[in-house]
Assembly symmetry: C2
Homo-oligomer: 213 residues x 2
């Protein structure tokens, strides 16, 4: 079976899941933590090399405050959980904004935890405009100007899986998504089960790879 | 019914269609011309304001020569056909490369044909890297450097429809695709029929629009 090197995860549907259970919207995010770790363990078994979770975006922070606090807490908690695993973690997002949680600043350089292994990336206060709109001074004396995206530490995506039924990328790593195969599940993210990943991998296995050639 | 302002068309499956008819691969492209005009007329009736066709990419030009010539000819022919309609045409792509057909150079500035109306864009020898990697001198005396994409004349996409079953963007306008809803049809593009567009519009009508908020 052909296993994707790098899988992107859009864990959508937390709010709709909470409402379907009679809870207020912001209660859904904490129920997305265990699914993340379960998915990670399965991906470890399959030999996936890199996993990127869509945490929250600059756009998302315009939502109601209780939601913003809830998804920010869930991201902090998720990164803390992963720091107890064998993984090489990176948190990427706009750290210049007050919406970036300072608890996650130590993770903005890629760091090995446990025995290392799979790269796991979390997009936290990420924005596609922020990512793409980047001029940088480089070279020995920092005198050359180059135009390069801020997410250069994240590799090309092979497969993107989105929960919650929506068939759109919503600003998820536009450059890395260029050639990615896109699989959508109707179930909400907190209802994650192993079969979801197996369905996505089986489908991916049947796709060709052309990279436009 | 909520009609998308701007629809992106990925007319894939021409080669597989030709093979399924016992023809050689490059014979499929000319059969994609009539579908394009038929789709355009339907979109006119629905009041769509902008339509973008994925012609061919810089990556595609690495294919066998007879295929390259065939899809280039089909693009030239398509633009000529549209110049007899009421439409405002733009051809966008890397004109600095010999792969860009010189017959289409007159269309690289947006031009009104007939009574004008819908904007119709053709991506010809387009490359996502070419599009994004752009520094430009601006301002009265051209002394300011700004970083801006080359496809600024093409607006945000609301809906992308892809024929031929593949669920990926393949480098199609990464910035304009950020929030687009993505609808995939299994049929090959030369087998286009009105029902395809109706299916896509009905599906689009049921989607919410959040733009991340």
């Amino acid at each position: 079976m052909r296993i994707p090197d790098h899988i992107g995860i859009i864990p959508d549907g937390n709010r709709r899941w909470a409402q379907s259970k009679g809870m207020s919207k912001e209660k859904g995010y904490s129920s997305g933590l265990k699914p993340g770790i379960d998915l990670f363990h399965l991906c470890q078994e399959f030999g996936v090399r890199e996993l990127t979770f869509y945490g929250f975006t600059v756009d998302n922070t315009k939502r109601a405050k209780e939601q913003r606090l809830a998804f920010t807490d869930a991201c902090i908690e998720a990164v803390n959980m992963f720091s107890k695993e064998n993984a090489t973690l990176l948190v990427l997002g706009n750290t210049d904004s007050p919406m970036f949680p300072e608890e996650l600043l130590p993770f903005t350089e890629r760091t090995v935890f446990g025995n290392g292994g799979m790269k796991v990336n979390f997009l936290v206060n990420y924005g596609w405009e922020w990512d793409l709109n980047s001029l940088k001074l480089v070279g020995g004396s920092g005198r050359s100007i180059v135009n390069h995206i801020k997410s250069t530490d994240i590799s090309r995506l092979d497969l993107i899986i989105r929960w919650g039924g929506r068939r759109r990328l919503s600003g998820f790593l536009p450059v890395q998504s260029i050639y990615a195969d896109f699989f959508v599940l109707e179930d909400y993210w907190p209802d994650f089960k192993s079969e979801h990943l197996l369905q996505a991998l089986n489908w991916y296995n049947e796709q060709d790879i052309t990279l436009g050639g």
